[in-house]
């Protein structure tokens, strides 16, 4: 469903992505792991064109989308994103955070958007917090709102950029549960995470990235228990500890 081909990205002299090619099929939950600085976040941002790749193709349902004649805004409605630091709109209530996309991007009527937003908030277990402001929520609650916000524009896939890395340990579970439920409901997901439990139970495939390249690809148990490459082995042994 989403396919990237030979993606390269430079930031000045830094060659961040050095030819990345992979594909995610519909309904799959793909997990990407790798040391910090390996280009995982940049790769995700290349897929929804928050960062424009220097070379290579991004294809959604077979059609190339990183072309001058396709609006990146349209692409981002197809592929939602959840950030490490939540990035909820601080000046809007939880409900308004979820509604902003449907109302301002999709042109939905306010009543319809409100009903939909409430439904999504109920789905992430936060119906009671609709009128609270982001700063009044815990990290885990904020991230669940962010997931609802991403779902609100009805995307075909969602990218998760280390969604639990900024959370206190007691809140990680609730976010992963929401993500697992989302995966079970058939949402196509690309998840950058170091949560091994989540990766093993939810994903069918794991990519290991280092220094801008995909080093190894395989089923979770293979990557975690029997990695083929030295670099994968070194990394996995560090995070499994």
């Amino acid at each position: 469903m989403i396919r990237v081909e030979g993606i390269h990205k430079h930031f000045g002299a830094l060659h961040v992505l050095r030819g990345i090619t992979f594909e995610v099929s519909k309904g799959e939950a793909l997990v990407i792991i790798g040391p910090s600085g390996s280009g995982k976040s940049t790769l995700l941002r290349c897929i929804n064109l928050l960062v424009e790749p220097d070379e290579g193709k991004v294809l959604i349902e077979g059609a190339q989308v990183n072309r001058p004649d396709i609006r990146p805004e349209w692409v981002r409605q197809q592929v939602g994103m959840v950030f490490q630091s939540f990035n909820l709109f601080t000046h809007l209530s939880v409900l308004e955070n979820v509604m902003l996309g449907p109302v301002r991007v999709k042109g939905l009527q306010r009543e319809a958007a409100t009903a939909m937003a409430k439904e999504l908030l109920a789905r992430v277990g936060l119906a009671a917090k609709a009128n609270a402001y982001p700063a009044e929520l815990s990290g885990g609650q904020q991230q669940r709102v962010a997931i609802a916000r991403a779902l609100a524009v009805d995307p075909k896939a969602i990218l998760f950029d280390e969604p639990t890395s900024a959370l206190d340990p007691e809140y990680i579970r609730e976010v992963l549960d929401v993500m697992a439920a989302l995966a079970r409901s058939g949402m196509t997901m690309i998840v950058v995470t170091h949560e091994m439990g989540f990766a093993s139970s939810v994903s069918q495939r794991i990519l290991f990235m280092d220094a801008g390249r995909i080093i190894e690809e395989g089923r979770p148990e293979q990557i975690f228990e029997n990695p083929q490459q030295d670099r994968t082995r070194a990394f996995v042994s560090k995070i499994l500890r």
Partner: protein, 307 residues
């Protein structure tokens, strides 16, 4: 439990604050009475007779300040935004052209299709550089000189223009406050965290949409205090229009003082009027600031200080 130790301390502090305030006010009244009616005598009757003239002049001051400030808001926002912008996206232009070439578009057609992007970035670049120069000129010269300079331009080029003093004054004040407000806006816009824009873009908002629905509502809340300062500063600065003969509050007062010799009364009234505008303005703005404050955003005040 009603009377914890903390509550008692707070009550005591509040009582002290009130007593100090009363003492200061009483002291000030005593001094004022001594000045006004003690020795030389304050001619209240004369002041009341001339109040309509003062009010007219006040209206002019208020009008000039508000119009200049309003126009300055527009200039300030656009220029402030332009000056936060990035460098020319040269690599994007080249990349788009190469991509079109790869897809089999002819070289000429590919070049033509990137022309709008090139023009747009050139305009953006020019606006930014001109904006930089403009702000430097406004900040680097006295308002006094700016007023006289613009007036002299009108005087030389449009000698028959009616009310050219007022017109020159309006242009000078607008240009001046526009420059300062663009700096206020730039700082405000840049203070909003970049993750907010990214999140806005990620749900499909355009650049303008993210500005309007995400950045601006946050930036405006942050820059209300400096904008209020700017308005009050501009109101006071409008007194400089005296130099080109605009009869706003200060100018009117000076003329009246020279013809009536009631110098003390005139400037006492002018002082009172300026204060009667500036103090309520800052109080009203403070009220709105608290009213539209959002939990966890901007500077938090202690619960006691809230309205």
């Amino acid at each position: 439990m009603a009377g914890t130790l903390k509550d008692q301390e707070r009550k005591r502090a509040r009582a002290f604050d009130m007593m100090a305030g009363i003492a200061l006010t009483v002291g000030a009244i005593v001094v004022l009475v001594e000045i006004f009616v003690g020795r030389s005598g304050f001619d209240f009757g004369w002041v009341v007779d001339h109040l309509p003239g003062f009010l007219n002049a006040t209206q002019l001051t208020f009008y000039v300040t508000t119009v200049a400030f309003g126009a300055g808001l527009g200039i300030g926002f656009l220029l402030g935004w332009a000056r936060t912008a990035r460098w020319i996206p040269l690599d994007k232009i080249v990349r788009d052209r190469e991509r079109l070439r790869e897809e089999g578009t002819s070289l000429v057609a590919a070049r033509i299709r990137t022309i709008p992007l090139i023009l747009l970035s050139m305009v953006k670049y020019l606006v930014r550089r001109i904006g930089d120069a403009y702000v430097e000129i406004i900040r680097g010269t006295p308002l006094f000189v700016q007023i006289v300079f613009i007036w002299s331009i009108l005087l030389v080029n449009y000698p028959r223009l009616e009310q050219k003093e007022l017109f020159a004054g309006l242009i000078a004040l607008t240009a001046n406050t526009g420059g300062y407000q663009s700096e206020i806006f730039r700082a405000g816009l840049q203070t909003v965290h970049s993750g907010q824009v990214e999140a806005g873009r990620a749900i499909g908002l355009s650049r303008w949409g993210a500005m309007r629905h995400v950045v601006l509502p946050q930036a405006l809340r942050l820059i209300i205090p400096p904008l209020t300062n700017e308005y009050i500063g501009l109101l006071k600065a409008s007194s400089l229009l005296i130099v080109i003969g605009v009869s706003e509050l200060t100018g009117y007062g000076r003329n009246l003082a020279f013809t009536s010799f009631k110098i003390f009364e005139v400037f006492a009234v002018a002082t009172a009027i300026y204060l009667l505008i500036t103090v309520p303005v800052s109080k009203i703005v403070q009220y709105f600031e608290v009213r539209y404050r959002i939990p966890g955003f901007g500077i938090q005040q202690p619960a006691e200080a809230r309205v």
